[in-house]
Symmetry: C2
């Protein structure tokens, strides 16, 4: 249940007067914010509090997260000359991540910590557009019009992402989740040609070199891409709420697990509706070789934390709990 | 090719100092703006220049279209009391539409004019949220939590939409297109239960009572809904670019035609790329019982008009032109 924080009063209190990127670069805050939802909810894992632009900022990109807007890149990346600004990420660039992951793993004991990074299309979009974008026009113009530059850009982003996730695994993260949030903006042919090779390299580097942790992959509106996201090397394919989970199962090759897919907006409905829908997701999930119950996207800020607690309990009561 | 205007210098000149809603309520401007793309492009039909909120404003909803934001509803519709504000639409409420359609049909001669209206989910979202929305939270909270109020709201919106489209057909429009732009925000079960009955009523009213014009239906990100959109009574199901057109064909019942589905962002790429992709869409479209070539969404503002002209010529050269 990503972004659970923004619905929690204790999170909002903690963040008062502290910018998003400051809170992602202070080990004490990363640790505390990661733990907050676990004090309320009986969930099976924690996910590292971070932001997809953290490793970009760490290598010197002039990105900031503006409240109510999102990540804004002062000097967009649009030429091969610009690529030089995307240098390799070293552990020394993100000491706060190493420190926070270590503290969290000690604190969490048996409960696994999931590492966190943004996926290559989404990172490229923020860098090329210079900020959030409705249609990703400039990004796609580069993808369609300058394939060599595109692949060079995604290659550098994959390098940074591999390093960022390996740092988290080295510090004790038990799994990783790669959020290519906006990759659903492209169709399957473009995904296969322009994005998959880079995602595959990221997942391969984590499978072989970093102790073989489970790899989760997620994007919004990716109904047509689920099979390819599995082919890219994800062990668990995240699914939003637009596609019934049993249909999603049919689109992913055997041997993969699925994660999802309750519409976060359902949590704003009366409990009877939530319960019925959660049971439906669980039932459809039983058609998969493995199913990690989750929302189909981040927790909406206006969600009642007590409803989330009740949902976590319902899911545990209904499903077989497997040891970590 | 909807929203072609915003890429045309002559459109931007004409609109200078005139608000969007003013331009949608002046017959001379509706007519001129509808015709502008046809002077540049050898397209097979014109689509009426309008906005989905025009009929809402005509029945007295305090909606305005703010530049750079979109439709903003001063007093949102969220209770059964609020529904009273959604009274029936009469021809006398939109004389400018009747006048403009009449003038256009005379001017267009053999070339068909496609009527235009917004679909029930999208209209409901603007009314309930009070403006554009990323997640449609309040809309879905109402849909999930207060189904009776939801169906009453969509029933009134369907009445208004039926009337708005019948007025256009009575004035001479040869076909209608219903844009439920954001309906892809819900999954198929919700679509079937909460939206389809209202869309079906709209299409049925146009089939029986209004001379049986062809009915086109479109929404963004509707890969999982295409079959249901056909079941709702569309003769032509519009498809965005996220799903390969031949796969879309397999999701729609026999007897339906498809429309789409070139990614509008491809038009920002070099001509060789555009040509290859356009031919690919045409080839996949040949697997359908009928295919209306189109972009998968509106024209992007930064599109070069000469590229659109070249695309229209390519499509005509490649496809069999059927008489109107």
């Amino acid at each position: 249940m990503r972004q659970a924080g923004r619905s929690l009063p204790e999170y909002r209190r903690l963040r008062e007067g502290i910018s998003m990127l400051d809170s992602c670069t202070r080990p004490d805050l990363i640790t505390e914010i990661t733990l907050q939802p676990l004090r309320r909810y009986d969930v099976d894992a924690a996910i590292l509090f971070s932001d997809i632009v953290v490793p970009l900022r760490a290598v010197g990109i002039d990105v900031d997260i503006k409240a109510g807007v999102g990540p804004v890149v002062e000097t967009p990346v649009r030429t091969s000359k610009d690529l030089e600004r995307l240098r390799a990420l070293e552990p020394g660039d993100v000491p706060y991540v190493t420190e926070a992951v270590g503290a969290l793993v000690a604190e969490l004991d048996e409960r696994p910590l999931i590492g966190f990074a943004g996926g290559p299309f989404t990172l490229a979009s923020y860098l090329v557009e210079g900020g959030p974008s409705k249609n990703h026009d400039k990004t796609k113009a580069l993808m369609y019009g300058e394939p060599e530059l595109w692949h060079a850009l995604l290659g550098r982003l994959a390098d940074i992402t591999i390093s960022f996730l390996q740092i988290q695994v080295a510090a004790g993260a038990s799994a990783v989740q790669l959020f290519d949030s906006w990759v659903g903006a492209v169709g399957p042919d473009d995904y296969r040609q322009a994005i998959l090779p880079h995602t595959r390299r990221i997942f391969a580097a984590l499978g072989e070199k970093a102790g073989g942790v489970p790899r989760i992959h997620f994007g919004v509106g990716t109904g047509e891409l689920l099979g390819l996201m599995g082919e890219a090397g994800a062990d668990v394919v995240g699914v939003d709420w637009r596609i019934p989970l049993d249909e999603a199962v049919r689109r992913v090759e055997p041997g993969k697990a699925l994660q999802g897919n309750l519409d976060p907006a359902i949590l704003l409905a009366p409990w009877e509706v939530i319960e019925e829908r959660a049971r439906d997701v669980l039932a459809r999930g039983r058609t998969a070789e493995g199913h990690v119950f989750n929302l189909g996207h981040g927790v909406l800020p206006e969600t009642d934390p007590d409803v989330l607690a009740r949902l976590a309990d319902l899911v545990h009561a209904e499903s077989v709990r497997t040891p970590a």
